[in-house]
């Protein structure tokens, strides 16, 4: 453990206290008929905290801040999800949160060495291609889910980290410009643009336009960093040009969006309270019903509304725990996103990767929270870490691992390929 032991212990105590406080609230104000439900929930949450605190030091990291925050947020979500409509441990969500923690470790281990990642670049493109193929062949045109018995998977979620990595690894290619006619172009930029277009088309085909802004956010973030590379300042012309193109694309998309999107764009939820505006209207009523301090865990009515645990989860939490608690939850996630500002990544590759992850998390949160509260069209995307859903949680966990990697990177050159090294040796002898 290379971090400060004292701060590690205090951070662990803080996380434990935060969860203990929430569990105490469940005990005192929660809606439960059997105390054992609260005990099981408390045992699961505190147990997971303790196990994670024991395991974490085995990983060599310069900081564990994100790990603590991730654990804090994930177990918060376990408590929230277990209280909707009555206190009872949500085992499925609990398991997916553990999976997200494992995914975070995997993300960290795979992404900490950018030189190695750079060599694996082709696999990102292949991965994205395979996932797109899976979507085309297995989900159907009106769906985004694959049903495997009790498990449902959303393959488009797994494209997100691969897309972030593809954007990040393309940075070094910016120095390899080729002249075509009078333009200096980078071939990889075309590849990325092509992939973005393909993803957009695929999302359109799946009728999952809600995820589009997330991909566009990641791409825009990577694009901005690429067009400015290697100079350390933004070119105004390029920025204005990019802004105009983005605006034009947005306007065209709005204009030619399919009927069901148009309905959502122009929906007056209060005039269509039992139709298209049902979820948003109920969400807002739920938030108003909860006030600052909530009705008490398990005492809301929003658990009767479809997708209360993911699409309108912010409102469900607000209703039961209060808007103040819901805002604190958002703040906890924001701190994860903010950490690259406080503890800067160690390389341009890692900072590009961190920016992509932050863009994805922020856009997703904005789409979910503002959409469910009728500030923007309702898209039905998830809030990272809080909404239920295995694919989303695993992806969010993995992407958090990418953030951890940007904080504790490894700069060892990758081991040379065996065949290649023996060939070089023979050449030297000759």
């Amino acid at each position: 453990m290379s971090g400060n032991k004292c701060s590690y212990i205090f951070s662990a105590i803080f996380v434990l206290l935060a969860h203990a406080g929430m569990l105490l609230n469940v005990f005192l104000n929660g809606n439960y008929s059997d105390l054992s439900d609260v005990i099981v929930l408390a045992g699961a949450v505190i147990g997971l905290d303790l196990v994670y605190f024991i395991i974490m030091p085995f990983f060599k990291q310069s900081t564990f801040t994100i790990d603590f925050l991730l654990l804090l947020v994930l177990n918060m979500s376990v408590i929230f999800q277990s209280c909707f409509g009555g206190v009872h441990l949500s085992l499925k969500h609990y398991i997916t949160c553990i999976t997200a923690l494992i995914a975070c470790r995997a993300g960290y281990l795979l992404c900490r060495n950018h030189k190695w990642l750079q060599m694996q670049k082709k696999y990102f493109y292949i991965g994205i291609g395979v996932l797109m193929l899976v979507i085309v062949t297995l989900t159907g045109s009106r769906s985004m889910w694959i049903y495997l018995g009790p498990i449902t998977l959303q393959p488009s979620e797994f494209i997100k980290p691969l897309f972030v990595l593809a954007c990040a690894t393309s940075i070094t290619e910016q120095q390899k410009k080729h002249k075509i006619l009078c333009f200096h172009v980078v071939y990889e930029n075309f590849a990325l643009m092509g992939i973005t277009a393909a993803i957009c088309l695929l999302q359109w085909w799946c009728r999952d336009l809600g995820s589009l802004p997330t991909f566009i956010g990641i791409y825009a973030c990577g694009f901005l960093l690429r067009i400015c590379y290697p100079k350390a300042k933004f070119s105004k012309k390029k920025l204005i040009g990019a802004g105009i193109i983005l605006l034009a694309v947005a306007v065209i998309c709005m204009k030619f969006a399919p009927a069901y999107v148009q309905e959502r764009l122009h929906a007056d939820i209060w005039n269509d309270i039992n139709g298209n505006g049902y979820q948003q209207a109920q969400a807002l009523i739920g938030i108003a019903n909860g006030g600052w301090f909530g009705k008490g865990p398990g005492y809301g009515f929003l658990h009767n509304v479809f997708a209360h645990e993911n699409d309108i989860v912010f409102a469900t939490i607000s209703e039961e725990w209060g808007l103040l608690y819901a805002l604190m939850m958002v703040l906890a996630i924001l701190i994860i996103v903010m950490l690259p500002l406080i503890n800067p990544p160690r390389s341009y590759f890692h900072s590009t990767m961190a920016a992509g992850v932050c863009a994805a998390f922020t856009v997703q949160m904005a789409l979910n929270i503002f959409g469910s509260c009728n500030m923007i069209p309702f898209t039905g995307v998830t809030i990272p870490f809080i909404s239920s859903g295995g694919s989303s949680l695993m992806t969010s966990g993995f992407m958090t691992g990418m953030l951890v990697a940007s904080q504790s990177p490894v700069f060892k050159p990758p081991k040379p390929h065996k065949k290649l090294s023996s060939f070089n040796l023979r050449r030297q002898k000759a």
Binding site: L225, K233, I273, G291, W292, L341, Y348, S351, A359, M375
Partner: protein, 452 residues
Amino acid sequence: MKSIKRCQGIISLFLVFFVAGMIALVIKIQREASFYMMHSENYELGMVYDRNGDVLFDGSGNEEYEDNYFIDVGNLIGDDKGQMTNTLVAQNLEKLNNYSFSAGLVREGGKAAIYTTLDHEANRAVYNAFGNQDGCAVAYNYKTGEILVCTSLPSLDVTKGYENISDFRSGTLISKTLYGTVPGSTQKVSTVIAALEIMGADTLFSKSFSCSGTYVNKSGDNIDCHNSYGHGTQNIQQAVENSCNPFFAQLIEDDDLPLSQVKKVYEKLGYAVNDDEEEYFDIDGIKCQKASTTLNDPYEFKTQWGCIGQGDTLVSPIQLMMWQSAIANESGEMTMPHLIDHTTDVYGKIKDNAKTQFSDRLFSSDTAETVKQILLTNGENHYTNLITGYKLGVKSGTAQVNEGNTENSLLVGFVDDPDLPVAFCILIEDKNNTSLKTENIAQIMLDALSQN
């Protein structure tokens, strides 16, 4: 390092947008939470009071009231049952809800209330004065805009529910003061205003037209006068006092009064001219129908008949009353009426204090002064003995409705007294079926208001 800072800049950009959105969201929720709650099944309504603290609506339903206690305000104050939508309660449920984002829904002891400007005692006196006769009356303070009396018959006691709704008489569920009615000769006030604005007082007073009981207009149609013997040759003052239809038909045909300009003045007054769509203005959330008329051709019967106040012309009693304020104030600006004086929130804290507001200038102050004098002279010459104790400017009207089969009686006017600055409009339906006169109602109304 600069490259890394650039990445941080982009992260900051995303965060700034998101945090700004979150702040906007919290403000939005704070401001609109009460509105959201009104769309749920959980709400707890407070009280509506009159200007003296008398209850006009009890949202709690805990207290007992005398039979028909609320009947004089039934179709104006309304309730939350959804049968009447254009009422004070229905349009202001959010203000009445004992809810705040901080306190939540307060079932007991919430102090959310609407304090109206109405004088319940005077309102009840006016309602009772109508007896079994249908009609409506509205009066307000033309200096402040406070609506003091507003009653419409038939009405209902909202505490009795709607089980017998099928037995309710036509018009029970609406306040007739808010909806267009044929104004009869009270419309001539608008025509006088238009003439004064276009040709000036000197020209108008210099004009005289004769009446022989019937006038055959330039299109060959008959314009009948209510006095079949005719009024002889008159000037504008006499014509107003006699309410002479042939005079006004000839005035509309006069070359000094181009119809295009009359149309402009009418539009300024708030008429929807030659427009089929109904338009409304707002009084504390309650919709009030805007005046409408048809002005096509100065020689056409329909246009002349409209300017006299029959046919297509429709004006709500409230709007007739509002024009009186522009005259009484000698400003040409209407005092905008309001029904809510202030509201209190769930803790009893006063908010939404009413402010006196005025319309844009509808006509010049010179015109206002001249019309005021015409109406005061009319009041002095014809109403001193009918409505005693008040210096009044008035204009009466008889409106033909149901294709001329029924006649309604109207009286609009104002009291020229700084201690009782009241403008009013009274409508009695089917006047030939009753001995009740608009001046009887006016007397009772003004007496009740002056005593309170």
